[in-house]
């Protein structure tokens, strides 16, 4: 069963007031996750029970929405003692509606959808995705930290969304791109206005006119042909503190570790939780052998994964250009600057 059943894109519109009313209604009837500004002025996704709690004025959220489908800590099953018969599968979930994802994050989610369906289907992720509807909001313009025009992941989406909102100044043009999106639209139809057609291709071309920060194809080739000086990798390796924050915030990072733990309630849990390839020990085996011999190889592996191998496998960049990793690095490793250096290496 596909995560998204695509349909021919249907156009509509919605006024700002009606969008507020729509989200307020959804928040009362379903679980709504939306951007919320907290007391530290960070905007992040949280469950809301009324539309007044939603922040509409933001560049992007501090975290991507991946945690709603791939939680930072997720109990896979519970058990007691050594008997496998005591195992209780904890893969259950409710329908959620997510509002306010940016185009780059929808693209990141699409990559994860493909990843979790390749080889073996990961039902813990996929069942949550199948039950969710995403209302994404195209960025009116490129934010300072972002580079989605270079990674071809925004600021507007051509396809692959449930419902996409595109600002028309006062109000929004609405595009419905999936069966799930259509069902939501039909349910709240009276809040939507007449068809407003938007030329997304034209919007993308306009966004691209502002010089993209790098040429992805060139970056891909230089990495694939190993044109980058070893000193470049050594420099990054010397500054990376292996905190893993860039990877936790990355919309397409999905590595996890698994632990068994007892709880005070007497039942034990096998859970998965986020892991990161920048944690030393990530590849170390029980007897001590580590095939990733040093930080340089560790760093290089991430760049190759996102900018070469994921493009080869998924035909879309593993970096979606959200720029979150650059905002948090304690070692002042700037992913974007480094990509530009890679581009110029050849």
């Amino acid at each position: 069963m596909p995560v998204i059943s695509k349909i021919e894109i249907k156009n509509a519109s919605i006024t700002k007031n009606n969008l507020f009313a729509l989200l307020d209604k959804i928040s009362k009837e379903k679980t709504l996750i939306a951007p919320v500004r907290n007391e530290l002025e960070d905007v992040d996704f949280l469950p809301v029970d009324n539309a007044a709690a939603i922040c509409f004025d933001y560049d992007n959220t501090a975290s991507s929405a991946k945690e709603f489908f791939f939680p930072q800590y997720e109990c896979m099953f519970t058990f007691s003692g050594a008997s496998n018969a005591s195992i209780k599968d904890k893969n259950g979930n409710e329908e959620i509606v997510l509002f306010g994802l940016r185009s780059c994050d929808v693209k990141g989610m699409k990559l994860l959808d493909k990843f979790y369906q390749r080889t073996f289907e990961d039902d813990y992720y996929l069942s949550k995705r199948r039950k969710s509807v995403i209302i994404s909001v195209a960025c009116p313009e490129l934010n300072e930290q972002c580079f989605c025009t270079a990674t071809e992941t925004g600021p507007v989406l051509l396809e692959g969304f449930d419902i996409q909102l595109i600002s028309t100044g006062e109000d929004y043009a609405v595009q419905i791109g999936s069966q799930k999106g259509l069902e939501l639209f039909e349910k709240y139809k009276r809040l939507f206005g007449p068809e407003v057609a938007v030329d997304v291709k034209k919007l993308l071309a306009q966004a691209k006119k502002k010089e993209p920060k790098f040429n992805l194809q060139k970056v891909y080739e230089n990495l694939k042909e190993d044109k980058v000086d070893e000193k470049f990798w050594e420099d990054i390796a010397s500054r990376c503190q292996s905190c893993g924050l860039c990877l936790f915030l990355c919309p397409t990072c999905s590595c996890y570790t698994v632990t068994d733990k007892d709880t005070p309630l007497g039942e034990s849990r096998r859970s998965r939780q986020w892991d990161a390839c920048y944690f030393r020990g990530f590849t170390r085996m029980a007897a001590g052998y580590d095939p990733i011999r040093n930080n340089k190889e560790m760093i290089k592996r991430k760049y190759l994964h996102k900018l070469v191998q994921q493009i080869d496998e998924f035909e879309t960049s593993g970096c979606v250009g959200c720029g979150r990793c650059n905002l948090v690095c304690v070692g002042n490793v700037n992913w974007l600057d480094n990509i530009i250096k890679i581009e110029r290496a050849g």
């Binding site: 003692g81 008997s83 080889t119 590595c255 085996m285 592996r301």
Partner: protein, 277 residues
Amino acid sequence: MFNSKLYIPRAAVIENVEELTYDTKLYRLRFKNHKSDSNENDYKPGQFVQVSILGAGEAPISICSSPTEKGYFELCARDVGLVTGALHKLKIGDELGIRGPYGNSFPIEEFGGQDIVFIGGGIGLAPLRSAINFALDSRASYGEIIILYGARTKEDIVFADELDEWNRQKKVKVFTTIDNPQKGWTGHVGVVTTLLDKIKHKFKAKAFVCGPAIMIHFTIKGLLDAGWAEENIITTLERHMKCGVGKCGHCYIGGKYVCTDGPVFTYAQLNSLAIEV
């Protein structure tokens, strides 16, 4: 698949435990409940399972029996980590969990009629044993079989009886070596690569190599020097794994997941992926 849900292990019972060395045991397993579509011998040589010990966790372990043996499968484990440590405490009749079988397999069936060389180091003989017994169970289908096996000391030799038994079979030769001279050892001394002389005339044979990383590295180098083609050298990689199904990311290397794209690779493949061994 042995298990019907991706992450939920299937209960298996330990039918027999055999101490192979001071730190290595051989476990014979049978599933607790049987279903028509998946039996104990529903795997291929070279595949592995995720062994689950509730409370301790999971670890990938190669199946070391041959699917030609019905009604059970065998795992060989050295006591080196959290899960294998917990496994070593289990006794006959105890229960553990199994997911799998996972990974690709040794392409042994494709090599009918040909000479085959197996080169194992330490516990690396375990996955090879599956392919060796598979080949020997249809003996007429293969040419000469040569097994080179190296262990650190004579106490580290696994499957000692079987090495002797294989050596007694027609058109099978087994050469065993230990790293350093030892009292009571009259056989060959030196690392396993010092045995490569015994097979240099067989450079057209398929060579299956498994052992510690450093052993694989020097064995492949030796084979290449002796004229082996990169496509004819087949090895199996060991990696840290949590899921076994291409999701957790730990075994990811060169754009491949060792658990689903491997663990068996030809040297030609490893080279094209820039994976160093």
